[in-house]
Structures are given as structure tokens and as C-alpha cells.
Amino acid sequence: MKVTATIRILLFARFRETAGRDMLELPHEATTADVLRRLRTEFPALTNLVDASRLARGDDFLQADEAIRPGDELALIPPVSGG
């Protein structure tokens, strides 16, 4: 049986509300740029917001070309508005 490698994306704020859930499971993508490209198709009404967002793994923001490992849990971080 072929098992497709996946990654998980934690969703917050407008992404969470638009998706109606707080986590997406997607096929594994090689880099952060690939994941963001994929997320543009997951959120066709929010492509501008995806473009303004960053990905994080653990407590750290990821750079545009960082390698993503199968099974990674990432967070999609739209522009923040605390305070």
C-alpha cells in the first residue's frame, strides 16, 4: 500500500474561520514557497492574505525557501494584530 506523505497546517483567525476548522492536512510539499502556493488554491478568496502571511514551524517563522519534511506541522500566520 502506498502511503502519501502529508503535512499539517494549523489555521488561525480569518483562515480558521473561512475553512471552518483549525487544521488542514495537505500533501507534502518540498519548500515553504510550494506550501504557500498550495494554500493559495485552498483559499481562493484569500490569495492576497496568503501572500501577506508567513509559515511557522514550532516557535519559528520559516524563510521562503526552507525545506519542508513529510509529517511537518506548520502554522499559517497571517499579519498579526495583537495589542
Binding site: F12, A13, D59, P79, G82
Partner: protein, 137 residues
């Protein structure tokens, strides 16, 4: 002290946390829920966070501030959940040997928090409209 809480923020606790015999200045910043933004009226705000990362980023900005100023004590609390007009959303207290350092460090801390800490607010208007705030970077 770095906390996320769903309870009202107690400013006296923040001040107590930074009390220090070698601090000649203590600055307290409270970010509070404002009713009018231009012509737009706010009924309430709802805050959410990526909580473990938010705490880590608050720890990181405290470290950055301590590298730049001779901070004796620093305490930061952000509230989550639904807040009404006038409620305190964030509190930051910093003590330093001299007041100018404490003012500068506190301004840096709130500016940096608004830049790197994954917390978001949803603005609830009296007419039922609700809008997540995702300001252009």
C-alpha cells in the same frame, strides 16, 4: 513574567513583578479596547493566539529588549477571548535604573509585540458585522 490569560489583567500585579531596588523608573503600558476608530464604532474585540508560539515570541522580544536596555524587571500579559470597551488587552511593565531607558524599552516592547507575536483580534461592530484585523505588513 510572560502570560496569556482569559481573565482581566491586573496592572498592580505587573508593577509588583518588576519592583526592584535598583530601578529608578517604572513604565507601565496598558493597551485598552477603544470604542471609536475614525468613524467606525467597535462593540467588542475577540482575541485569539497561536499560544505556544506567542509565548515564545514574547520571550524573544524580552530578550531583545534586555540586550538593548539595562532592564531590571519586565512583565508582559496579553488577554485572549472577548473584551469589552475599556478592557485591558495587553499590559507591559518595565523597570530600569533611569526613566528614559524604561520609556524607550516599553515602547519597543509594544511595537515589537504588534509585529512578531501571533495574536489576532476580531472587531465586532454594533450592527453585527465582524472583521478579523490583518494589517498590511
Amino acid at each position: 513574567m510572560i502570560e496569556l490569560t482569559r481573565e482581566p489583567i491586573d496592572a498592580a500585579r505587573l508593577l509588583e513583578a518588576v519592583r526592584d531596588a535598583n530601578a529608578g523608573g517604572v513604565v507601565l503600558f496598558l493597551g485598552t479596547v477603544r470604542e471609536m476608530t475614525g468613524d467606525e464604532r467597535t462593540l467588542a474585540l475577540e482575541y485569539e493566539a497561536h499560544e505556544p508560539m506567542a509565548k515564545a515570541k514574547m520571550t524573544e522580544l524580552e530578550r531583545e529588549a534586555r540586550q538593548r536596555w539595562p532592564i531590571r524587571g519586565m512583565a508582559m500579559i496579553h488577554r485572549l477571548g472577548r473584551l469589552e470597551i475599556g478592557d485591558v488587552a495587553v499590559g507591559i511593565a518595565i523597570s530600569c535604573p533611569h526613566r528614559a531607558e524604561a520609556f524607550d524599552a516599553c515602547e519597543f516592547a509594544i511595537d515589537r509585540l504588534k509585529e512578531i507575536v501571533p495574536i489576532w483580534k476580531k472587531d465586532l461592530a454594533p450592527d453585527g458585522r465582524a472583521e478579523w484585523k490583518h494589517p498590511a505588513p
